[in-house]
Amino acid sequence: MTSNIPILTLNNVSRTFGTFKAVTDVSETFGPDELNCIIGPNGAGKSTLLNMICGTLPVSSGSISFGETAIHGLSGDKIARLGIARKFQVPSVFESLTVFENFQVSAPANSDLAILEEILSTVNLVEDLDVTASDLPHGKKQWLEIGMALTMQPKVLLLDEPTAGLSADETSATAKFLRGLVGKVTVVVIEHDMAFVRELGARTIVLHHGEVIASGPFSEIENNEFVRDVYLGRR
């Protein structure tokens, strides 16, 4: 029963910058503990959409609900406390803090050490516990930020290009890891890398010029003429 009630609902969500329409009338629902993917060319409005969900940017019009609660208009920290975690496109970790201190900041005040331990090994940072974040290579920063999001024990996990700058092996490890989250947490992941998206095999939403031009299982999206045209630059 419960699985039919969406955890995240976007209703005609739009965002303009001046006269420029970055996101236009996006209406989508995300079911609990499902894996979802958002793809689209550069500047399609993918990051802007995530920014509106997590409250970093206000919506220009439309509404966003988390379960039954309307969250557009709430401040970012309130939305986070409801259980929505986010990884930014440019890795955003606290550069002057160590890996462990980053975790201390992201995890709730009295988190179970065993859980932190598990997450640390999931993101392969056990060895780097005392390394200052600014000294981490790009890929590890990505993982640190994902780990930080996980320590929040979120209900919704928003990931903006988690594989940018990762090697092919790391990318496919990420895909495997994200598939493992199905049934545990709702994930919305933005990606560019088509091989990665294919590997995810998730429901996929295609944004183009701020509008949803297709959505459905990746196998369908892959064969959609219009989407192919957009990606090949024919439209």
Binding site: V105, L113, L120
Partner: protein, 341 residues
């Protein structure tokens, strides 16, 4: 896994109570200062006492600037509000001498808290950060200075107010230099160790996180504006505490205790000691005071020139203080050597 557990557990306790070098230095400093009266005459002691209170003032600035990275040019306003709050309540209202010091202290700290909360609310909630914050707080000090000079009926105008009694509590008056010295030392010690204890814990981490990336800290669920505002208000209250105690020693208050020059000086004290180190603020204050004695005794005009050039160098070359500047150079040098291998 158990190995990792113990590592994590060690790390966890360490973060709250870790015996950092700065903590040791703070303990040493307070110990040394508590035996200083044994070797000093009364006149020197009054000077040292003033240095302790200025050290407290510098500490107040470092709590905000050092941890949030946001520089306030308004801290003389809060020092001055403490000073004037104490002066005005103990001179104008004929309050019973047995508790006038306490009333003065509460008025001074209360005024600073209200002004910091109001100004802080508008600028921090308005998203003002960085250099803009510095400029707005600079303007605040100029305005406060104008009020102190212009509202002469209450503040005594240019000449200020004379006749503030020595600090007293429960009938005990701290009029002799030894007593007032120890009062200053005890207050400083309490504030310093509380600040170290609190800022070495979770709150310190969160403030560092906000300094690194406020948007990210927000998406982790922290009400960053509120946290910054509370830190600002607490910092302002400490500054006013220093100001209020200071005028019970001098016996008078004057507009230069709520002026831009004092705001500039306190920034220099903190920077010399290394911002963010807390105990460094107190040590920096003492160093600058000592230098001022030395240089002024050679030539009276040399001091303003020296401190002015130092301030310019500070802004241009080592905004995080000379200590941090040297450390960074050393680290960069080590890194480049590692890189060459």
């Amino acid at each position: 896994m158990t190995q990792l557990s113990s590592l994590l557990a060690a790390n966890k306790t360490a973060s709250g109570l870790r015996f950092r070098p700065a903590t040791l230095i703070a303990i040493l400093l307070i110990l040394i200062m508590s035996v200083v009266p044994l070797f000093s005459n009364a006149y020197d002691l009054t000077n040292y006492r003033d240095v302790l209170l200025f050290g407290l003032f510098a500490l107040s600035l470092d709590i905000f600037w050092g941890r949030t990275g946001i520089l306030s040019f308004g801290h003389a306003t809060f020092f001055g509000l403490g000073a004037y709050g104490m002066a005005v309540s103990s001179i104008h209202f004929g309050i019973d001498p047995s508790y006038v010091s306490i009333v003065g202290l509460l008025v001074g700290i209360g005024l600073a808290a209200v002004v910091a909360a109001l100004v802080g609310y508008f600028i921090l909630y308005g998203g003002v950060r960085g250099d803009h914050f510095t400029i707005v707080t600079l303007a605040l000090t100029i305005v406060a200075n104008h009020i102190a000079i212009g509202w002469s009926k209450v503040t005594g105008g240019d000449s200020g107010l004379i006749g503030i009694p020595p600090f007293s509590i429960f009938g005990f008056s701290f009029y002799d230099p030894m007593a007032s010295y120890y009062l200053a030392l005890i207050v400083l010690a309490i504030c310093l160790f509380s600040a170290i204890w609190i800022l070495n814990g979770r709150l310190g981490l969160i403030l560092s996180a906000i300094r690194d990336d406020e948007v990210k800290a927000k998406t982790l669920g922290y009400d960053t504006k509120l946290i910054l505002l509370i830190t600002f208000v607490v910092s302002a209250m400490l500054a006013s505490l220093a100001g209020a105690l200071y005028v019970t020693n001098t016996g008078f208050v004057a507009p230069d205790m709520i002026a831009l020059l004092l705001s500039t000086e306190v920034i220099i004290w903190v920077a010399v000691g290394g911002s963010g180190t807390l105990v460094g603020a107190v040590i920096g204050t003492a160093i600058v005071w000592w230098l001022q004695q030395k240089i002024s005794s050679i030539s009276v005009t040399a001091w303003p020139i020296a401190i002015g050039s130092f301030f310019i160098m500070l802004v241009l070359f080592f905004p995080r203080g000379p200590g941090a500047f040297v450390l960074e150079k050393v680290k960069a040098f080590q890194k480049s050597r590692e890189g060459n291998k």
